[in-house]
Symmetry: C2
Subunit: 351 residues, 2 copies
């Protein structure tokens, strides 16, 4: 409904006044952000949200706190938009640390000239993803910059969550003998964004895997409370996580290439473009490291969840003979190659 | 030291690789962000910070959570830079709600081609302001976008703090009879940014008032625990705060124009350009509303602090005869005008 918002003309676009601290900004906050995030509950606008600390301290012994900036291009893509990504990304950063997500903040940088209808779609996607994850968006901020100063829309979400005492998940807690799992096919988000950019003449049905993983993590942790490490595999892909794991836990990670779950269309895109799904970004995939004795149980727990149906055991941890962490990828013929991280991602603005 | 960072060439500029999730990003995080924010303490990199909830719950009964995006232009200005602003802004949002700031997050969107030396100065300013406020920057994120997609550098800071049970500060808690105070001269930040842009041929010595207000707030709350409302007067200035106060508390706010503390140079800039210091942005000024019986005590407490030396009583609250909140400004001759908020700020990218 362009024109229903103070400061928006017949062309339905955001103006500098929407970031100016006056009545136009107030109208944008009330009619777009609060309307979506508070389901119409009025709320006096404080510059901070307040959460009951006694309740939080009863739910766990540590507060998790995380932040992520999102600059994905294009802003909308098959499977979601920058809003879906912003909520899921922060929910997942909390969840993989063993935290139950409690509340999110959202800060927007909007370019003058941004379509209000697009902003509404982004905000509605954020509200939907937050509802799906069972988390509230409780505080926020909006800035508008001249059209030459920013490319459409950036969102930064931060989140707080509560960690229960029994969870001591850390990227440095991997032990020789542990087993590495993923909850499904690799590289769906990266491949979907690549195709959505339209520079390639590839026609695919690929969708981003963008999803909040907190209920999957709940299911996994209830089945196997003693998960050693967990990390969502976003920029840098599963390869990035395994490299960090190898270094932080000082172990040799051996990956069984034949066991990696990859969607046939992603495999096709990778073959055509010479990419490796291990390095492609995901937005609904995590790597979990568990003691070998719990591996099958962890796998079954993941597979029982809709977001873990294609979960797989993909590797193992061993003591590092050299004293330095490393990742080896073993192919179906038994040949091993050392996995090394590239200096940067081939694809900027993936998330 | 350009060239000492992976992915930075002889020209000393940020490249897309610094946001790619690979070794260049790792180098940026370790050598720029962690070096400044953790004072060299190693720390395994988790994607979340963890704070002890028992300690937090002993310090207060509510957790405050806030976020702000910063897009100020120019990035460096007399009195600070975007980093100073980002830390002070979030510390102040926490403090004026009665919260003791505990931890901050920082998310950066960098443009490809940004000077590494400038980024270092911003990060060092953040570390200095955080140390001044006694708060830690505990988690972060970095994205790099192509040079056409963003104008230099945006920072989003979020913060958590703890509110003690005796503090029930709210913009809706103003009562008829209450007195309004500010901690010093109005509009210094707005006027300094205006002059720093260089579009005007004004030569001034103006500096932004950018400062963390948490110790001033501590001093005030120790003297007068029953402060009703407090708000930092950023975008929209003191006028914006008073408008929100009038509406949320449903009172008539009467401001004594002659009592407003204004730096002579700011007054000069305002006269030349036809601006009103009440509407100009501040980054180290707050509005406090206290019961009349505590007003002199509150003023003396503020004036005892270095950031409150020019504190003043500027107005009073009365019951609203119309049933609707309003702000009246009374000049030295007793003439009153109704203060109305403009639709947007005259000056975009003020913070």
């Amino acid at each position: 409904m362009p024109g229903t918002l103070t400061g928006v003309g017949a062309d339905g676009r955001i103006t500098l006044a929407h970031g100016g601290g006056g009545s136009a900004m107030r109208s944008l906050i009330d009619e777009v952000f609060l309307a979506a995030f508070t389901q119409g509950s009025p709320a006096v606008q404080e510059d901070q949200a307040r959460l009951d600390l006694t309740t939080l301290a009863q739910a766990g012994d540590r507060l998790a706190f995380t932040t992520d900036a999102f600059v994905v291009e294009p802003l909308e893509f098959p499977g979601g938009n920058i809003g879906t990504l912003a909520v899921c990304g922060t929910v997942n950063d909390l969840a993989v640390g063993g935290a139950t997500p409690v509340a999110l903040s959202a800060a927007f940088v909007l370019a003058e000239g941004l379509e209000l209808a697009l902003l509404r779609r982004v905000v509605e996607a954020m509200a939907r993803s937050a509802a799906q994850a069972g988390v509230r968006i409780v505080t926020g901020d909006t800035k508008v910059v001249p059209r030459h100063a920013c490319d459409g829309l950036f969102v930064t979400t931060s989140g707080v969550g509560v960690i229960r005492p029994e969870h001591t998940i850390s990227i440095a807690a991997g032990q020789p003998g542990d087993v590495v799992l993923v909850n499904g096919t690799l590289g769906d988000h990266g491949a979907a964004i690549l195709c959505a950019r339209g520079d390639l003449a590839l026609q695919t049905h690929l969708q981003s895997d963008c999803a909040p993983l907190n209920t999957l993590v709940d299911t996994l942790l209830r089945a196997v409370p003693g998960v050693h490490c967990m990390r969502d595999a976003t920029r840098g892909g599963v390869a990035g996580v395994l490299s960090e794991l190898a270094e932080a836990s000082n172990v040799l990670v051996t990956v069984n290439e034949a066991a990696l779950p990859v969607h046939p269309e992603v495999e096709g895109v990778c073959e055509i473009l010479g990419l490796d799904p291990l390095f492609l970004a995901n937005e609904g995939k995590l790597v979990a490291v568990v003691p070998a004795c719990h591996a099958e149980h962890a796998l079954a727990a993941m597979q029982s969840h809709p977001l873990g149906r294609n979960a797989a055991i993909i590797g193992t941890l061993q003591a590092s003979a050299s004293g330095q962490g490393a990742v080896h990828v073993v192919n179906e013929f038994g040949g091993a190659r050392v996995l090394t991280m590239p200096s940067g991602e081939q694809l900027p603005r993936i998330c």
